[in-house]
Structures are given as structure tokens and as C-alpha cells.
Symmetry: C2
Subunit: 270 residues, 2 copies
């Protein structure tokens, strides 16, 4: 048994969708969440820079004495998971493998679509992971850079969101995909319009749920790593690299409860 | 006479609109451009973090031995111009004052609109600067966060851009503004749809042109600061904090010519 917290890392607030799924799936565990709000977004930056930020985050979480690191950010998971794992010194899980496995399990006609940031799509991490699991599928990818700012603006169900989704998703629709991986933590917030545009028979894969299920399986299969069954877990802690105040407001909206004190992590310089 | 280059600083590529105007207005001068592409955007971050980034940029430009620093970024100009000036050790010009002066000169009915990032609008730097120049005007402000990602995506003239502009600008239109300050370096790229939505009788103020005119006036009034009249200026130099390759492509599109070698500035950590 291991009462230490699980570290969750994201470029900003988007990873709170993953945090929420983890918390629901693992009520006995305690978490340390780190959002690099002073340097967000990562999806438009080079793999080298994203890798450096990921390593700095891993170093911070290691100092927080976490027993495991969940990389909630698809971009970091795509381009820098190995570098993060080398620095973290504890088991590390990204969102690509769980999302790929779920997509392969769900597809009926073997036509899988993937959407994400420019960096995630350019890395081809999802197609590689999916094709490694099953060779007889086709994978179609499309970057959707405007989905993140739309979600952050709260424009998730208006005409602009709908037109943007229509424009980005036209080629995936034409390709006849039956399953679509939402390869960015923000995209589940736009699941409504994405589902509308793709049609009701296309299965949407939310990597937040996928990674939470896999972490739960892993912990239940490894009692040394899971938290003690008795007693309530320590309250989760939150850290950001920019001012905590705006993060507190968004986090409360995401989680439906106040998150208490939010710390400042010095990894982006001070 | 002073043959040293003029430093131009922006959070990313947007400041190239200012660089272009400066280059056109001051053909005898040489420039050093710095874009903080590893940490862009600034407009969604706290004044404290933006201030720290601005000071780091000023320190970098100081080491490049510039004779003057132009802060092309509206967000930095709004929240951290004094901090940049204290660090730079040479004359510093932001874009707020020139934009405010031009707006006051252009307004016919004394009703001025200002659009910008959340940080720029929250700072109220433009209303303060405008009202300090002339008391009998009214200033109406509105943040337009999606304009930057739209411009970066190249969606400057489609239905999404038009609907977004209609949504953001509705209150300014209703307020009957006759002059609109484009208070962000990216916004001139959307001037077409902004002008369409606001109507042809609303004057648009581009701070790039405004700051270039003021710097030209300043140099022509101070011969010790201006470059020697004889001989071609040294080629301008470009520095970024993330990978140079994507910047090179955008810069070539903005400037209509290749920019040559692009350096890597270590101010965002290495």
C-alpha cells in the first residue's frame, strides 16, 4: 500500500477534465495537480520546447513525492512521454495509449479519426499507437487549433463553434470514420457540436475517461501501489505557474466545488 | 548620429506588423526583433507574469546594444511599460500612447472603441491614455480573445471570422463609436471583417502605423539618436525563444521576403 499522492500534469486548465475522471474513478487516492498556466498552450510549440517544459514539470512532481505521474496533456503525451518518464523516477502514464486502446475497442468498420493540436497531430503518436494495436484499421487525422480557444472562451454551443467544427471535421466525415478520438483535454467540452457535426453513429473517445479506467485497473492489479483502503485520502493539492486566481475560478467551474488554496510552482522561472 | 539598431519586442509573431511599419517608415535604421514564441500568448496571462517576461526581453535587447526599444505588444505596453523602461536603460516606446493619440485625432463625435486581449482591456491603459489627452470623449472597450487564434489560423475572411466579429463588436456598434482602436498586433489582419461589421464610416486605428510615425518623428527631431544618413543600414536580426523554423515561414509571409538566419534567445530558459 502506498498513501503518496498521484501527480497529474497539464499545460493549463484542460487537464482538469482528466483530474475529474481520475478523482471519480479512484475515490481512495489523493492527487497533486500541476498546470503550467504561465506558458500555456503547448500545442502550437516545438517538440523540443514542449519536452523541456514536460521535464521541468516531472521534476516538480518528483519533489512533491508522488507515486505516479499522469500526463493529462495530449501534446506532452505525444512528443515527450519518454523524457517525462526518465525524469519522474516513478511510473508514468500518458493519454495516447488509453485513447488508442479505446478507439480500437469501439471501431466497427475500422475507420478511426483523430483530432488534436498541431503538435499532437504532427507527431503521429495516435496513428502509431492505434496501428500497433491493430493493423487492419485506417486512421485519419486533423488538427483543430481553434477548439482550445473556443472552449476557453466558453463558446461551446454557438454558431461559431458549429461552423468551426464543420470546417475542421469535413474531411473526417467524408472519410467515413465511425470512431473519433478527442485528442486534446479541451475537446470534450465541445463534444456536443462535434457529435452533431459527425452524426450520432460516430463514437467519440474521451481520453480523460480512458486514462482514468486504465489507471484504476493498474492500481487494482498492484496493491503495493494503491492507497490504503481505510481512511479518507488527503485532500488533493493544486499548483500553477501563473497567478492562481483565474485558475481557481475555472477549476471551481470544472469540478463543481472550490479547490481551496492553490500553490505557485516556480518551474517557469520567478 | 547613432548607428546602433532599434530593438522591437513582441510576445510572438504579431509584432511583425509593427516591424513592417517601422522598416517602411525608417529605411535608414537597422532593427533587432525579439519574439517570445516559447511563451506566447501574453494576453491571457497575469500582469505580474507578463511584466516578468517583458523585463527579461528588455534585458536581452540591452545585451544586443540597441539604442531604443519598441514594445510592439499591446499587452506588455498596457501592463508593464515602466518595468521594461527601467530595465532597458535606453528610450522605450509602447503602442498605447501612439494609438491613443491617433484615435483622439480621428474621432469626429468623440465616441472611441477599443478592442484587445483580456489583459489589455482589463488594464484600462487605452481609456486612461485617451482620457488624459482629451476629457470630452467616451471610450468603450471590449476584449476579443478569439481574434488572435483566428488570425494565426489564417481564418481572416470566412464565415467564422465574420460571426465572431459580429458577436464581439455588437456592443461597440450599439454604442455608436466612430473610431475603433485595434489594440492588438494581430487585429489588423482581421481589419477586413472588422470594418465590414462596424461599417465604412468607423475609422480603424492600427497601432503599428501609429507607433512607426511617432518613432520617425522622434528620430528626426533628435539627430544624435538617428542613424547616419549615408550608407545602407546593417541587415535586421531576428530572435525567437522557441524553434526558429515555424517563425521563419510566418515572417516571410508577413514581410514578403525571407528574413535569413533566425537566432534563438535563451530568455525563456534552455
Amino acid at each position: 500500500m502506498d498513501a503518496r499522492p498521484i501527480g497529474v500534469f497539464d499545460s493549463g486548465v484542460g487537464g482538469l477534465t482528466v483530474f475529474r475522471s481520475l478523482e471519480a474513478a479512484l475515490p481512495g487516492e489523493s492527487f497533486v495537480y500541476l498546470g503550467d498556466t504561465a506558458r500555456v498552450p503547448y500545442g502550437t510549440k516545438s517538440p523540443e520546447t514542449v519536452g523541456r517544459y514536460g521535464v521541468e514539470a516531472a521534476r516538480f512532481l518528483r519533489k512533491q513525492d508522488v507515486k505516479m505521474v499522469i500526463v493529462a496533456c495530449n501534446t506532452v503525451s505525444s512528443v515527450a512521454l519518454d523524457a517525462v518518464a526518465a525524469e519522474a523516477g516513478v511510473p508514468v502514464a500518458g493519454v495516447i495509449q488509453p485513447g488508442a486502446r479505446r478507439a480500437v475497442a469501439l471501431t466497427r468498420r475500422g475507420r478511426i479519426g483523430v483530432i488534436g493540436t498541431r503538435a499532437t497531430i504532427a507527431s503521429e503518436a495516435y496513428p502509431r499507437a492505434i496501428l500497433a494495436l491493430r493493423e487492419d484499421v485506417e486512421v485519419f487525422s486533423s488538427p483543430c487549433p481553434l477548439f482550445v480557444p473556443l472552449a476557453e472562451e466558453g463558446w461551446t454551443d454557438n454558431e461559431v463553434a458549429r461552423r468551426t467544427a464543420e470546417t475542421y471535421l469535413a474531411t473526417l466525415e467524408a472519410a467515413g470514420v465511425d470512431t473519433l478520438v478527442l485528442g486534446c483535454t479541451h475537446y470534450p467540452l465541445l463534444a456536443g457540436v462535434i457529435g452533431e457535426v459527425m452524426g450520432g453513429d460516430v463514437a467519440l473517445v474521451d481520453s480523460a475517461d480512458a486514462v482514468a479506467s486504465e489507471v484504476r485497473e493498474r492500481l487494482s492489479g498492484d496493491p503495493r501501489l494503491a492507497a490504503p483502503a481505510a481512511g479518507a485520502p488527503a485532500p488533493s493539492r493544486f499548483y500553477v505557474t501563473d497567478s492562481p486566481a483565474p485558475f481557481a475560478a475555472v477549476a471551481e467551474r470544472f469540478l463543481g466545488r472550490p479547490v481551496g488554496l492553490i500553490g505557485r510552482a516556480g518551474i517557469a522561472g520567478e
